[in-house]
Every structure is written in structure tokens, then in C-alpha cells.
Point group: C3
Chain length 139, copies 3
Amino acid sequence: MWHQYHFQLKPRRRGFHLVTEEILSHCLAIGTIRVGLMHVFIQHTSASLTINENADPTVRSDFEAWFNRAVREDESYYRHTEEGSDDLPAHIKTSLLGNSVSVPISNGRPNLGTWQGIYLGEHRDHGGARTLVVTLQGE
Amino acid sequence: MWHQYHFQLKPRRRGFHLVTEEILSHCLAIGTIRVGLMHVFIQHTSASLTINENADPTVRSDFEAWFNRAVREDESYYRHTEEGSDDLPAHIKTSLLGNSVSVPISNGRPNLGTWQGIYLGEHRDHGGARTLVVTLQGE
Amino acid sequence: MWHQYHFQLKPRRRGFHLVTEEILSHCLAIGTIRVGLMHVFIQHTSASLTINENADPTVRSDFEAWFNRAVREDESYYRHTEEGSDDLPAHIKTSLLGNSVSVPISNGRPNLGTWQGIYLGEHRDHGGARTLVVTLQGE
């Protein structure tokens, strides 16, 4: 049993954002799957998906602060600079964090831990609406 | 053909630990799958899963040393500090390394390379027993 | 419907390389899958797979420059040093970037975004030919 959804997330400002519920609102067939997997894929190279703490928003703002220090803008050795100071760092952050997450499905629901949620990492200053492809499979 | 296992790993101290055999001991149906995938998911936001060198334990201790320097405790700009100095760095390390690994299954066994093993990254000082969900599928 | 391919990539020099077309040339059955997933796994601990920008080669050279600065060779605290200066950093880069990528399949093709391609991260000075296991599934 396969289901695939292709949709856009609402545009968000640069930073990390909890998007679990917005994703699930597009994937209604998940309720029919007893055991399976949910694969969430972002079709971009300057925005990422990761799973982390779903409660305290300071985790997301600390993520933004840490990644901005770890992957600096305007390093003198960068050569890919024509699309803006935020562009090459956005590519690196995306590969550090990843383009997809896979979550087990159990009894019609994503089997996340109590404190887990899916983050969108928006790494551009003006990234716009990001496109996802969600693939559900199971029985 | 789907199989799903929900179990706890033995508690381990902070650091990187080889857990391939402990995981496989919970997933007996893997032997019945000729071709498929094993998805291993950790239901936590301060412990990670990754695949790396399975032989020399100094790789694991060097990982712990490198990640502790790359993601420092007690940075003055952190705001998520109420759960201890190790907490926010543990969240960042988890997203850098990832919450899941997917391994091909071939002829009833995980088709890992000769030198590959599954690591648990325990990023808290006192993380306790960590819960995994392993999903096997194939034919 | 499952298909699994086990093959070597051409050897490449240290750095990041676009390998989407070379991978697809080995996976002819993808054309028969209407909806599914492609799982690409590298059986090594010092070379990685990630998805990033497929157009400008300076993205790949900037990746190499950034990762070489983020994960230094010859740090005095490394203990895993007997296989060369590039070895332990290659292990760390591999776990930061990951051992596998999963891509949705739609209408017989990998459903990558316009600017996305699959990168091989070759992190050793003399890594040789790297072995992949690609698993296709779908309907």
C-alpha cells in the first residue's frame, strides 16, 4: 500500500520551525496504515528536515544561533558567492542536517517519541514556500 | 512483509557505542527476508544513531572528543539551559548525526560493509535506557 | 516489487562529486516503478552520500574547503592516527553527512528537485572505487 503527496509548506522566515502537524494535515491516508514508514523529502538544497525537541522554542532559536556560528557567512575562501552571503552556508547546513526524515508508522500514527517533532530548517533569508514529497507505505 | 520491533537498549554512559549486535538480537525475522530494508529509529532528541567503523574503539573515543569540541557546553548565547549544560549540545549533536539509519537487507542479513557498525551516540551525561523502533520490510 | 543493485562507482579524487547519473545507469528497473523509494547506501566509513546543488561546481569545491576546516587533520587529541592524517577526519565527515540517501520515485524517475543531485563525498586521499547498494521498491 503506497501513498505519495506533493505539496508546499507555508513560507517561513530563516530559522528552525516545527512542522509536524502541517505535514500530517496533508497525509490523511496515514490513519489506514497499521505498520509502515513515512518518508518526508524536501526538494531543495538550502532548506533541511531534521527531528528534534518539540516543546521549548528556545531549542529552535539556539539551533539557529549555533548553526550560524558553525557555518559562517562571507568566509574569504568561499567561491560560490553570487547568490548572496546566505547561499553557500545554506547549502552546507542542508547537507549537515539532511534532506529527508523517515519515521516508523504504528497503528495509523507516526511513532515519534514524546518529545520529538519534525523541524524545517529554513536556511535562506528569503526562501519562500518549500516543496515536500511525502511517501507513505505499509500494511 | 513487515515486522516492527519496539525495545530499549541497555543504558550506556555518554559517548559512542557499537550496538549492531544488540539491535539484531531483537530482530529475528530479518533472517526470513531475501531483499529488503532495515530502518532503525531512536525515539529521543539527545541521543543519535550513525554508522561508522566497527573495529578500533579509538574511533568512538575520538568521535566523542571531536563532537565535544565542535558543540561546546555553556556557550554564553545559549538560552535553552535549564536542563543542564549537556542538554542543548546533545540536541545539536543528535541533529548533526541523525535519528535513524536505514540498511539494505540481502539474503537474511543487514548488508553492511566489512568495517561498518551501528553506533549509538549517547549525548547526555545520564541518558538512561534509550528506546528504538526497528521496522523491517522486504520479500 | 523489490530490486537491489550492488556495484562500484568509478574511483574519484578526494572531494565532492556529482554521481546521480552514474548511479541511475545501474538501476534500470526504476523506470517500471510508478510510486516508490530509492535507497542508496555506501558500504564505507570514510566516504559519504548527500544531496545538494547540481549545477555550479564551486558548491562542491566550497564543501571540500569548509569540511576540511571544520574537521581538521592532525589534532593533537586524536588517538586513531595509524591509518594516516586523513583517516579519522574522513570517519567524522562521513557521520556528519551520512551513509545513505532516500529519494522518492514518481512515474519511473527519482523525484528530485530541479537543483538537486546526489553527491559522493570522497574523504580519503586515496579512497579507490566505492561500493554502493541501491534498493528500489514500489508499485
